[in-house]
Symmetry: C2
């Protein structure tokens, strides 16, 4: 009974409520922060698939099994990585202007975050307990939406949908670029052929994200809010 992982309680406990270390024993050679930092560096450079326990441990000069003194699973590590990345959205803007403007600004920040940490796209869809930074981000969105008079559930919907649409934009290039026609009989797809045969036309406007987010939030939330500043 003296070999359980660090602070493991009687049951499946969340990583957020488990203390990093106890009071006895030698001072640990590493820390959760260092491990998460190494993992994020790896993910930024080579993608999420490169974040194996062995690789992260190797970057810290230790063995894979040693990491389990600091966290109890790889999923925990991904949760910690996600929460730290979400923390980079700080500092949160004041809600002085129109709430719609502020929300669109937040969406832009999210889009930029997906740019600096592309692996977030592979991670946000997993069901996982939200960490303190994710909760803080959510709390901040609710603060901005405070003047909006509507059920809380609708605000939750709007926030989640905004994050989702931003993630769609973040991987937009990969989605359409996935079309390839190697050795495929194209005669069955007349409209597709016609579309590619025509000149492509002007590229879509750069404010597509802005317009989409505005339209989305305006459709999901009532615009007759109380107060504008």
């Amino acid at each position: 009974m003296s070999d359980a992982p660090a602070g493991a309680g009687p049951d499946r406990q969340s990583i957020w409520s488990r203390p990093e270390r106890g009071t006895r024993g030698p001072t640990p050679a590493h820390s959760r922060d260092a491990i998460v930092g190494a993992a994020i560096a790896l993910a930024d450079a080579e993608g999420l698939a490169a974040v194996s326990m062995r690789a992260v441990a190797g970057a810290l000069g230790t063995g894979a099994g040693s990491l389990y003194r600091y966290l109890s699973s790889r999923d925990d590590l991904l949760d910690l990585m996600t929460d730290r990345a979400v923390g980079e959205l700080r500092p949160y803007p004041q809600a002085r202007g129109d709430w719609l403007d502020t929300m669109v600004l937040l969406g832009r920040r999210q889009l930029a975050l997906f740019g600096t940490h592309p692996w977030l796209l592979d991670v946000i869809h997993r069901p996982s307990g939200a960490g303190p930074e994710s909760l803080a981000w959510f709390d901040n969105c609710l603060r901005i939406l405070e003047p909006v008079r509507c059920p809380v559930a609708a605000k939750f919907e709007a926030i989640a949908m905004m994050t989702g649409v931003v993630s769609l934009f973040a991987r937009r290039e990969a989605a359409v670029g996935g079309l390839s026609f190697d050795g495929i009989d194209l005669t069955a797809y007349p409209h597709l052929v016609a579309a590619f045969g025509r000149p492509p036309g002007p590229a879509p406007r750069g404010d597509l994200v802005e317009r989409t987010l505005r339209g989305l939030l305006r459709g999901l939330l009532p615009t007759e809010s109380t107060g504008t500043g």
Copy 2:
């Protein structure tokens, strides 16, 4: 040189252009269709993680290595599964009414497909060569959008965004339900606490999907199209 996988050409060839089998040798005991069917049944029942080469082969009464006579990788299998599932969107509706109505109908069908094959949500985001059914679906969307006068790129954007938003709705329940507060100090999130303390208010209307898709497509495509029937 006589032991290469089935029909493997000189280079990395797409699964769509590789013949299922050659002319010599015994008649195969299985087929791509049977393998894909077993894999989809497994994924429907136990999720995509249950679709291992060993499990699929086991369902067919053979060994994992034998599957490589029919396909060259697990990714190929996922591509085949995806394309067959997309094929279930047929038959495609006539484009007689308003194109917006027809597109929303297609979106509803996609949403239903995500319901019967939840593993599609874990699969659509991978970069992969689109199969014939995916191309047919795309071609059909272009046919419906034919009366819309705008650059082809904008139509591509709109189709991809509609699919993306539908996928967001498909996993909506899991997204917000992922919030849990086990052993977390909530005093740092005042708006979150206030939101949960208040009565939840009426549930969001059931036509949320409809309204969102309509707003999205109206925002992405010009509505002054030529002809309505």
